[in-house]
Amino acid sequence: MTEVRKDIPAISCRDVSVSFGEVSALSDISIDLPLGGIHAVVGQNGAGKTTFARVVAGIVKPDSGSLLINGKKIVLGNVASSRSTGIELVHQSFALPPSFTVAEALEYGSGGGVGFFKKGDLNNRWRRHLEALEMDIDPRHLIQDLPIELQQAVEIARALSSNANILILDEPTAVLSPSGIAGLFKRLRRLRDTGVTIVLVLHKIREIWEIADSITVLRKGKLIDGPMELGRTKPESLTPMIMGAKDFKENISRISDENSDNKVLDQKSISTLPKNKKHALEIDGVSTETTDHEVSLENMSIKVYQDEIVGLADVEGNGQVTLLRVLAGLSDISKGKIKICGQEATHLNLSKRRLLGLRIIPFDRNMEGLSLTSELWENWVASELAVTPLIRWINPMKIKERCKISMSEWDVAYNSPEQKASDLSGGNCQKLILSRELNDEAGMIVAAQPTRGLDIGATNFVWTTLENARSRGCGVLLLSSDLDELFKISDRILVMLSGSIIRELNPPYDLEKAGRAMVGESG
């Protein structure tokens, strides 16, 4: 580790501004983050958190301003310069080569990998490194075989293989299950105790409270406050800072119960479902063949009424993905029946199922939901074109006009229908998907992790949208591993384990009971 002095801030940036084209991502930010501790940088999507992290890591060169690391001025926009002062960035999505073993990935990622080496030496060296970090990972495993939280751990181990004394993590919890988050936080605390300064880009208030020592709030590229010591602030005062007063008023009711310590969230009285209602979705005894890369479904039955939100609680890896693929007609079923809005759909392909009213909001909005390198209007019109004959005249001008109207109805922040979808922030990407899926013909919505990685404002937007769909008479199946989310909007919750439904929970929900059910304990 490089020599450090206690009185000098670990990161000190002065008047840093960054703009991308006409959009200002950061304007005149001056922050001093003290040495040691875990510093949370929080804000909504598009607040400039990631840009801040990238400026510090040298990936983005600011238009103006200066940056001091451990008191030393560094060359802006130069990764090597940032790294030489001990800064390492753990990316939002990991860049480890999937076909490498853990040891190979670490060697390659830490700048080695040229020349000859002995496999045994490599494994031993990195095993010691992983053990020193108290990570229980076999260096001989392939990256692609590791669950996502261990991939992230390897990425952290990679970052710490040099003399890193400042570790920046960009949205590290977005990809993790609740138990994975707990593991990550434990790891981060241990690192903090060894003297590493940790900067965490986060947006979930509960997580911030759990882990951070100080909080810095950004909004629309401006510094709102910070770093504030955690003891000096309260969750109630943090939310308006993050959201801005106007948004805050609209969302206040939700946020206050999100942050309440009350573990029993019983806002909904036991719903009185009229039993003569029709089913929007009937999955009847569906099983799938066992394959290497998918958890198989075992005799699964789910019924979703029209105007009902059914939550499907699942620690990831228990068959959510298979179920979604089965509903999308992308995986075959070996037995069982599927009905959509009362119509037999077991052997229909997805475009026919869509015509019956099925809509899918897939897990990964960047890969499955959108084509990021395609233009916005193309993404928007995809579902409409996909179910029509292959060659049909279209008028792109008219489509773009309709797309514009829809974008403003759904409050998507965009510049032009011809811009690439990758230019949109995560929240706006999800709104774009909602605007495409939730038209009047939608009768049954399957939403998979629809708020993953979204900030509070966008999350509330998605929840309200799903609730509105319910009141319009849509059935909603919500696949989620976020219990808060499930409790918030589900009329009832089914717990899934190893490809089967093992329990149904009804309001008022009990966090502990649900948690126990999700890992298969009775009670």
Partner: protein
């Protein structure tokens, strides 16, 4: 910055960079780069009748390249244009053989339809293998070129061999003049009209139909399209068929036009150059027209190079190869470089 400007500037940047790199190599090899480029420019565009000679190569290149672009755009790397071109010419020549004596107004269109069908069928089987069994289309289409080349050898030296020929190169009989749509110059109103027709149809297909939009989405992210209920297999088969049809049309035009017959191993680089043409134009139809003209010009200049500069014709291959290398490099390096420059004007 503006995507549309990028589409124009990028190919120009490739060509400029390739010119500089070529110049350096020529100088090292002891040839005058200036003289070299002067004669290329003369041979391609500036000399008397040189534009016409460039068009002779540019017109068929454009037709084939529009098809290649449609297939690539959809994410299917159909590199079998050369074989599809040969199969088009073979099918067309059989029509002329079996309908000899029938009115040219019937024979020529039928021959072209046969050419398109032949090209489409020759593209269809690798397409089917890809879509049904996931067989890598790059390998099957590449191999299909060699098979088609051998079929061409068989036809020209076997069943349809021109017995009166000198025997230098096996070929079919030269077509009677009423069946020709151009003389050996390869430039005639008919061929230009067909080319324009292909251009307009291709442009409409790409920019004004659901197929165009869906195939672009399929090429960029097929997973997303699957979750929209899109049928990738339909798009894939259609794009294989269309690209085969157009390469086959080129083959039949070559028969009825400049060549007047089918020759064993003729135009051996046509299909591969068409891939470069499409890549340089980023699959945009209008861009393909300019890019085809450029490569057609290079091709025509190559025939004059030995006369004026003492350089072998293969100097042009060097040029093509460098452009191919730059295109490959672009995928990782070029676009990011250009885009970053443009989106951060303050740097």
């Amino acid at each position: 910055m503006n995507e549309k400007i990028e589409i124009i500037i990028r190919p120009l940047a490739f060509i400029l960079l390739a010119t500089i790199l070529c110049g350096i190599i020529f100088e090292i090899a002891g040839f005058s780069a200036i003289l070299m480029f002067n004669s290329i420019l003369d041979g391609a565009f500036l000399g008397s009748r040189s534009l016409e000679k460039s068009l002779r190569w540019a017109l068929p290149l454009f037709i084939t390249a529009v098809g290649v672009g449609i297939s690539f755009r959809c994410g299917f790397f159909n590199i079998g244009a050369q074989g599809q071109f040969y199969m088009g010419s073979v099918c067309a020549v059989y029509v002329t053989e079996y309908m000899s004596g029938v009115n040219a107004v019937i024979v020529i269109p039928l021959g072209m339809i046969a050419g398109m069908t032949g090209g489409a069928l020759w593209s269809l089987w690798p397409g089917y293998l890809k879509i049904r069994y996931g067989v890598d289309e790059v390998i099957t289409t590449l191999m299909s070129n060699f098979i088609a080349g051998l079929i061409l050898v068989y036809v020209t030296s076997g069943p349809l061999k021109d017995q009166s020929g000198s025997g230098q190169q096996a070929s079919t009989k030269i077509l009677p003049s009423e069946l020709r749509i151009s003389d050996a110059s390869g430039v005639s109103l008919t061929i230009i009209l067909i080319t324009i027709g292909v251009g307009i149809t291709g442009w409409l297909l790409v920019n004004r139909t659901s197929f165009g939009t869906l195939s672009s989405l399929a090429g960029r992210n097929p997973t997303m399209l699957k979750y929209q209920g899109g049928k990738i297999w339909q798009l894939g088969l259609a794009s294989f068929i269309i690209s085969g049809m157009l390469a086959g049309l080129s083959g039949s035009i070559e028969l009825f036009g400049p060549s007047g017959r089918v020759v064993s191993g003729f135009l051996p680089t046509h299909g591969f150059t068409a891939i470069l043409v499409a890549l340089v134009a980023s699959y945009a139809v209008i861009g393909t027209a300019f890019s085809a003209l450029f490569f057609g010009g290079l091709f025509s200049a190559a025939l004059f190079l030995p006369i004026f500069t003492g350089l072998p014709t293969s100097a042009i291959d060097l040029f093509n190869a460098i452009i191919a290398l730059l295109i490959t490099a672009r995928i990782t390096l070029g676009t990011n470089f250009l885009r970053n420059r443009w989106s951060h004007p303050h740097d």
